[in-house]
Subunit: 230 residues, 2 copies
């Protein structure tokens, strides 16, 4: 289907929400949580890299990758390359972000892989990687047969949206889990930081919503002829 | 769009996952958490009604309501009535479930409405109610004009799926939040109960996934002519 809305307009909302979300997660981790570090005796600074890279990388870059076909006024081959590269960056930042959570846990003696957030996270990054490799091989290089491409495309789009919705939901799980830990250690439940974290999660959910809406809407090409990716 | 899968087959997966999820949430709250109660000096038993009604009501009944058009071999008018009634039951059970969380909080002196789960929950139940009332007025009684119905239908389906995906995601937030509280109070992070809660959340996510897939798939009518709700 293609919703009868111009994707270009929706994509502006995506860009704005992406900037807002990126600023919010940076303000939270740099101003409220003490900053970011690859190595530090303060292990919390290592953890702080995790939400920053997951939101800016996997969610925001991943979202821009999804809508690149609908939001950019370029030729199809160029948009395909942008789609591929943005998803590749999102995937790499996501993997580094997950590594930083393990690094923090291991250096702080915190248990690994017991929470729903961590289980889903491992599942999502694996599916994201499989989806990227499948897309690369079938749609880019060496490229599948015409039949395979045509049969794969709706499933590629649907499975991609499924993994992306899971990623956005899991970011909300992560924000809630971290804030619950903080509130158990004394952070004010109705304080500025708690509200910042909850609203960052809500911005992430709105961002994901507009990404999916954009993906389901009319691209510039569809204004001229009736082609739809799904 | 309509995926080229028969909705009927997918709907069997939905029914099975629904039964599994219902059994799991009941075993968790009755066997592990001590049971369910409307009134009790043990306020935990009041809380336990919350996850049971939200999962069996809002998520499972709501999911069956969504797929009723695709999964049932009845006439359209009959399926519309089933869709309306199942969503009505889901909504009422959801409202009672939310009331039980407030009742537990108020009788135990726990703060209300500070967590992301609670904020999203209030938003979701409100949107679910608005969607139900709009559907009732436009599609059932008194019924909108032909134009209004035709223009509303794709948005009704899309908005319904959006609210439903939010509800499933919020159930995962709820399972994670409750389990995190329990683990902070000594529940084994790798114990049987923790695994049961996490796997119940995963069954809920799988259930929601198959509900959406069924909604996007070919209904029995579409096997004969090419009609699609969205």
């Amino acid at each position: 289907m293609a919703l009868q809305i111009k994707a270009m307009y929706l994509s502006y909302v995506v860009h704005v929400l992406g900037v807002v979300g990126a600023v919010m997660v940076l303000v939270w981790n740099i101003h409220f949580r003490g900053g970011l570090a690859w190595e530090s005796s303060n292990k919390n600074l290592i953890f702080n890299v995790h939400p920053v890279l997951m939101l800016i990388g996997l969610i925001i870059m991943g979202g821009e990758a999804i809508i690149s076909y609908k939001a950019l006024p370029f030729k199809k081959a160029e948009k395909k390359l942008i789609h591929l590269i943005l998803h590749g960056i999102a995937l790499i930042l996501g993997i580094i972000g997950i590594y930083m959570a393990f690094k923090n846990h291991n250096e702080s003696g915190i248990a690994n892989l017991y929470s729903l957030h961590s289980w889903l996270g491992i599942g999502i990054i694996s599916l994201y990687g499989i989806q990227w490799v499948y897309g690369f091989l079938v749609f880019f290089y060496p490229g599948g047969s015409g039949d395979l491409r045509r049969d794969s495309l709706p499933w590629h789009a649907l499975f991609g949206m499924f993994v992306y919705i899971l990623a956005v939901a899991n970011s909300a799980l992560g924000f809630l889990e971290k804030l619950t830990f903080m509130e158990n250690s004394g952070t004010d439940k109705y304080g500025t930081e708690a509200f910042l974290v909850n609203f960052t999660a809500i911005v992430a959910i709105l961002y994901g919503t507009f990404v999916i809406l954009t993906a389901l809407s009319r691209s510039p090409e569809e204004d001229h002829h009736s082609y739809s990716a799904i």
